[in-house]
């Protein structure tokens, strides 16, 4: 009698969790991702980096592909490039929105190109054999080194090069991966010969970075050119005359074996319709107006006849 009661109790709890597992298995992409086999052919897994613009672009890709009959799974907010490129390599994701310049420098240690078309050509050659990039978009979102209006006035800063003599007294902030990435601290040293006093790891161009700059915890910080808080706070984007950050056109990075005419056509159509101003506006709707990335994506696609 006692045993039956224990058995019943345990079964009840197990059933509850089993239902949860089954429920999550059918609706949530991650549960299927947990099994050893890859997603069935024709399904494409779209990933994104851990900042809102990347998630927004991923939602745009996913929405358009869905509307064109492709089965899509989403794995958003994975992490830094160093984290999601291995995921692309091992098949956990198939497609991710990227930026030509940084991606080129990630794959190619001797990247030299700075203008949009040359960077794109160099990137195409540098991408590993299992992956490829589709058409690039005119929309650009570049890394930038940003200072407050006061700092710019104080040290007479117009470009990153002007930081030169002052750098050893200044604190630089950026995402944690900037400490070692080729376009981060090592890049600033290599191209502009800057040695900052300290580097503070913050977040990926998010509220932490903005607040750190506002509060004076850092003197210069890495933000993205489409970030609405630059204009909102009167920050100054320092020019990049030596093109450390090169051209950064939005481009889909995709596993070669997943490419088919439908997917190519859909993604290329998106790239054609996206430009910097529109991207900036969409990002503002997600970050400032707090709208859902999926909803903003849907609106964009509908307005442009892409879905």
């Amino acid at each position: 009698m006692k045993r039956t009661k224990i058995a019943f109790a345990v079964t009840a709890v197990a059933a509850l969790i089993g239902v949860a597992a089954c429920g999550s298995g059918s609706s949530d992409p991650l549960a299927t991702g947990g099994s050893a086999s890859k997603a069935s052919t024709g399904t494409i897994v779209v990933g994104s980096a851990n900042f809102p613009e990347s998630a927004l672009l991923a939602e745009i890709y996913a929405g358009a592909l869905s509307a064109n009959g492709v089965t899509v799974q989403k794995k958003l907010n994975i992490g830094s490039r160093e984290t999601y490129i291995p995921a692309l390599k091992d098949g956990s994701i198939d497609l991710i929105p990227e930026y030509t310049g940084v991606l080129d420098q990630y794959f190619n240690k001797n990247a030299k190109a700075t203008a949009a078309d040359e960077v794109y050509a160099e990137l195409k050659a540098a991408v590993p054999a299992t992956m490829t990039v589709l058409d690039k978009s005119a929309a650009e979102d570049k890394d930038a080194v940003v200072v407050t209006k006061e700092t710019a006035a104080k040290y007479k800063l117009k470009s990153i090069a002007d930081l030169g003599p002052q750098a050893k007294n200044l604190t630089l902030g950026g995402p944690p991966e900037w400490k070692t990435s080729p376009t981060g601290v090592p890049g600033l040293k290599r191209v502009y010969n800057l040695d900052f006093k300290t580097f503070r790891p913050l977040d990926v161009g998010g509220p932490l970075s903005v607040q750190a700059l506002k509060n004076g915890q850092v003197d210069a910080v890495n933000l993205f050119t489409t970030d609405p808080s630059i204009a909102d706070n009167g920050f100054v984007i320092l020019d990049d005359p030596k093109s450390l950050f090169a051209a950064q056109n939005v481009v889909p990075l995709i596993t070669r074996s997943k490419v088919n005419p439908t997917i190519s056509a859909t993604l290329n159509a998106i790239s054609a319709k996206l430009d910097t101003a529109t991207l900036g506006q969409l990002v503002k709707e997600v970050v400032v107006d707090k709208k859902d990335a999926a909803a903003v994506a849907k609106e964009f696609l509908a307005k442009n006849g892409l879905a």
């Binding site: 830094s80 984290t83 944690p176 400490k179 990435s181 913050l202 932490l208 750190a212």
Partner: protein
């Protein structure tokens, strides 16, 4: 892989500078100890009061249970948006971390305190009253010392959790050993992440050991029975005298089986 981790830990450059291991260790310890002290200052008096007077027990036990359930990461972000704009400089980042760690440390210490006082042998209380002690005196001279083992074990449990969780300071861009975890994650530098984890574990165990020594010296030997050199051995059942029950996990005291 182990070789890479070992190489990272023994690399001289990782032991110097503003992001070297010693600095991060000290920062981590500073965050943890500060939070624990604040938590103890709140939880021990409160726990003693509840245990001694029996008032508010129901409310506090349930509040503590709910507090244990608050996810640290979520609370951290909430505190960042709530406190951040009101404070300046690094305090805007330290306060959210401090809040999360204090909220984390209070439940085990509070449980330890009131369970400790409640568990005091009623005969001891009786004897104290018989000797003429008033309420507060009973608390100070009898209940508190008798409750010390459980209070200490609550403190040790709280300290362990705080040290393990102080790694979230790095999510807000602060220092501490969490820096190695977050930076290692961002750069996919596995040896760095693993080294950070090892350092946290080593720190937690070292501090626990130190607190165990403190416990040894602070808890009256009348309680731990460390005087007794004569082992009583029951020839029939082969049973040894039961050791005093210590609850290191900070969970509520298990009910004794027979009603």
């Amino acid at each position: 892989m182990i070789g890479n981790i070992f190489a990272w830990l023994t690399d001289g450059t990782h032991w110097q500078g503003y992001d070297g291991i010693p600095r991060r260790l000290l920062e981590h310890l500073a965050y943890s100890v500060t939070a624990l002290l604040i938590a103890a200052l709140i939880a021990i008096p409160l726990g003693l009061y509840i245990g001694h007077t029996g008032r508010g027990r129901f409310l506090v036990v349930n509040a503590v249970g709910a507090a244990r359930a608050i996810p640290s990461l979520g609370l951290l972000f909430l505190a960042f948006f709530w406190l951040g704009p009101r404070l300046s400089g690094d305090l805007a980042l330290l306060a959210p971390v401090g809040l999360v760690l204090v909220v984390l440390a209070i439940p085990p210490i509070l449980s330890g305190a009131y369970a400790g006082v409640e568990g005091v042998d009623p005969d001891a209380r009786d004897a104290a009253r018989g000797m003429g002690m008033r309420g507060p005196q009973v608390l100070r001279h009898v209940e508190l010392p008798c409750a010390l083992p459980l209070i200490m074990s609550g403190i040790r449990s709280g300290m362990l959790q705080v040290i393990a969780t102080a790694t979230i300071a790095a999510v807000l861009g602060l220092g501490g050993l969490g820096r190695f975890l977050i930076d290692g994650l961002a750069a996919q530098d596995f040896p760095q992440t693993a080294s950070g984890a090892i350092l946290v574990a080593v720190l937690a165990l070292s501090v626990d050991l130190a607190l165990a020594l403190v416990q040894r010296s602070v808890v009256s030997r009348g309680l731990t029975g460390r005087f007794s050199t004569v082992a009583t051995f029951d020839a029939v059942t082969g049973a040894e005298p039961p050791a005093p029950a210590l609850q290191p996990s900070g969970s509520e005291r298990p009910p004794h089986g027979t009603g």
